[in-house]
Amino acid sequence: MNMEEIINGIKQRFECEVQVKEIPCGVKKIKRTSIFVDLKREDFRRFMDYLFEIQEYPHFAIISATDLGENMELLYHFTIDYGKQNEEKTISLRIKLPKSDLRIETITDLIPGAMISEREIHEMVGIEFIGLKDTRHFFLPENWPEGKYPWRRDETFPEDMLNKLYETWKEDDNHE
């Protein structure tokens, strides 16, 4: 499936903004393609179905999260058309969630390989994945305090847990 077909397909089915980046590299200046799609939360599962239509097993890379103050932004990075010379494209789905309602459906039923990433985002920024069966900590220790999220830029950031080495040194410390 070529680029125009994919972009037209997305625009026909969803009310969203699509941004395409093409970056040349090397001497022959062959381009690599990244597609960013701004999506509403309601359309998310429908978009996943569309993704499975254009690629039998879309490759899931990672979810990245950004704290934008009022909202949390999730970017689901997928790739399609892998296994073909210079044809692979990344599709990044951007979904904004208001901090008052940080919930989104899981995709682990479609892509089991997304489990670690969903657990990571769950513990690092506090997004609730509806339908995610395993919500134990993966990267943070088991006794991590509840309601503290290290990748947030607001009051839920565990400020008191920061290790500030420069504060441990005092004028009258004896270094002999």
Binding site: C25, K28, S34, F60, Q85, E88, I111, M115, S117, F138
Partner: protein, 411 residues
């Protein structure tokens, strides 16, 4: 889990991976019936430092320290993402030098892995032989970058060091050395009956599981998924060369998805990397190696830039992806996400280990190419609460004994 099952926690320091990791394995006798994985030991918060303390140039050196072995591909990935976000692209020569560096890293990483795999099944002579061969590429890396490990060659908009005529000559000599030695490595690993006995049909990952669990790199390719970022997604000089993903059927026409196939894929990739380096040295374009030489200007440019970018690199272990977002007026990244290849290759351990034996855990875990250096502190707890410990040494001994047993039975 039946009442005869034992639960064996392996780890947290650390059965297989660069970060400490815990494997909880349920066994009945020697058969593995359940596997669970945990990572929650030492999260270093590298992304947080990049998002809060460092400027992007400092973060290059921080990203080098994500991994001791992949310390080209992480900064490579990161600078690509930043270049993408800021719209500052490297000159052609830099693309080629980056490619050469990434391939040197692949050679050293795959040889290191092959040595570890041989050690895990009790072939220490092969282990020493392979690691002795690896020294040549380490010397080359040291000659070209000044360091054996953290190479500090990547820079946003290019590379920090050029390759001289003398360097080209040394690279060619080094690659000739590997082409000559490859036949012997091939013979040792591919034709030895004991290696085949220990690794054939052990730790199988089916193609479907590989696709569903999003496995990457040699693990996915050994299961017959022709997925290779160098082939699929143009970056560096790879698109000019036209890389073909290596799957085990290229060697013997069949795909098993087992540990032996992973050995085949990695060793063939060593040869492939040698070819890529030879080609890149011959076709190295002339010109500058940096888009912006002045670091202060570069820092200001990045501070003013606004945008986001994705960097993807085929690391020795598979697809590595970095996502970077820059905000105007903010020195550090607004957002930085690192996804190292092992992240995706941990879940495939579960289907690989299920139904296997405890003695196969080291080689199966090692076959996805994590670091096996600290498989210490394994505690066995049985249902009635009695505890005893299995150390890494004991587990290694079990593995060696199995090899010996198989060798005896074969004769």
């Amino acid at each position: 889990m039946s009442e005869h099952a034992y639960s064996i926690p392996i780890g947290p320091l650390h059965p297989a991976i660069h970060e400490p990791i815990t494997l909880k394995i349920d066994v009945e006798g020697e058969k593995i019936v359940g596997v669970d994985v945990f990572c929650s030991q030492v999260h270093r918060g590298i992304e947080w430092i990049g998002m809060n303390r460092n400027n992007p140039i400092q973060s290059i050196y921080l990203s080098e320290r994500v991994c001791g072995i992949c310390n080209i591909c992480h900064p490579f990935c990161m600078v690509q993402a930043v270049e993408d976000a800021a719209g500052l692209y490297p000159p052609e020569r830099a693309d080629y030098i980056r490619t050469i560096m990434a391939e040197l890293e692949r050679i050293h990483s795959h040889l290191l892995w092959a040595g570890v795999a041989a050690h895990e099944i009790g072939f220490d002579t092969v282990f020493h032989y392979t690691w002795a061969l690896r020294e040549k590429v380490m010397d080359l890396i040291e000659y070209l970058t000044g360091n054996r490990v953290t190479k500090a060659i990547m820079m946003i908009g290019g590379v920090r060091r050029d390759i001289t005529e003398e360097g080209k000559k040394k690279l060619k000599e080094g690659m000739q050395f590997y082409l000559e030695k490859f036949a012997k490595i091939e013979d040792v690993y591919f034709n030895d009956p004991t290696i085949q006995m220990r690794t054939r049909d052990v730790g199988i990952l089916t193609k479907e599981d590989a696709l569903k669990l999003c496995a990457v790199g040699p693990v996915a390719r050994a299961s017959g998924v022709p997925k290779d970022v160098r082939q699929d997604f143009p970056y560096g000089a790879y698109a000019d060369y036209g890389v073909k993903a290596i799957t085990p059927d290229m060697y013997n026409g069949e795909v098993h998805g087992d540990v032996f196939d992973r050995i085949i894929v990695r060793l063939l990739e060593v040869k492939h990397s040698v070819e890529i380096i030879n080609w890149a040295v011959d076709n190295l374009p002339a010109g500058p190696v940096l888009a912006e030489k002045n670091l202060v200007k570069l820092k200001m440019l990045l501070k003013k830039a606004e945008g986001e970018g994705i960097g993807r690199v085929e690391a020795p272990r598979g697809e590595d992806i970095h996502y970077v977002r820059l905000e105007k007026g903010k020195e550090s990244f607004l957002s930085w996400k690192i996804r190292a290849p092992t992240y995706n290759n941990v879940l495939p351990w579960i289907p690989m280990l299920l139904g296997g034996q405890i003695a196969d855990v080291p080689i199966v875990a090692a076959s996805t190419d994590p670091c096996i250096s600290c498989l210490n502190r394994v505690t066995v707890v049985d249902e009635r609460g009695r505890k005893y410990e299995i150390t890494k040494e004991y587990m290694h001994e079990l593995s060696v004994k199995k090899t010996r047993r198989l060798m005896r039975n074969a004769h």
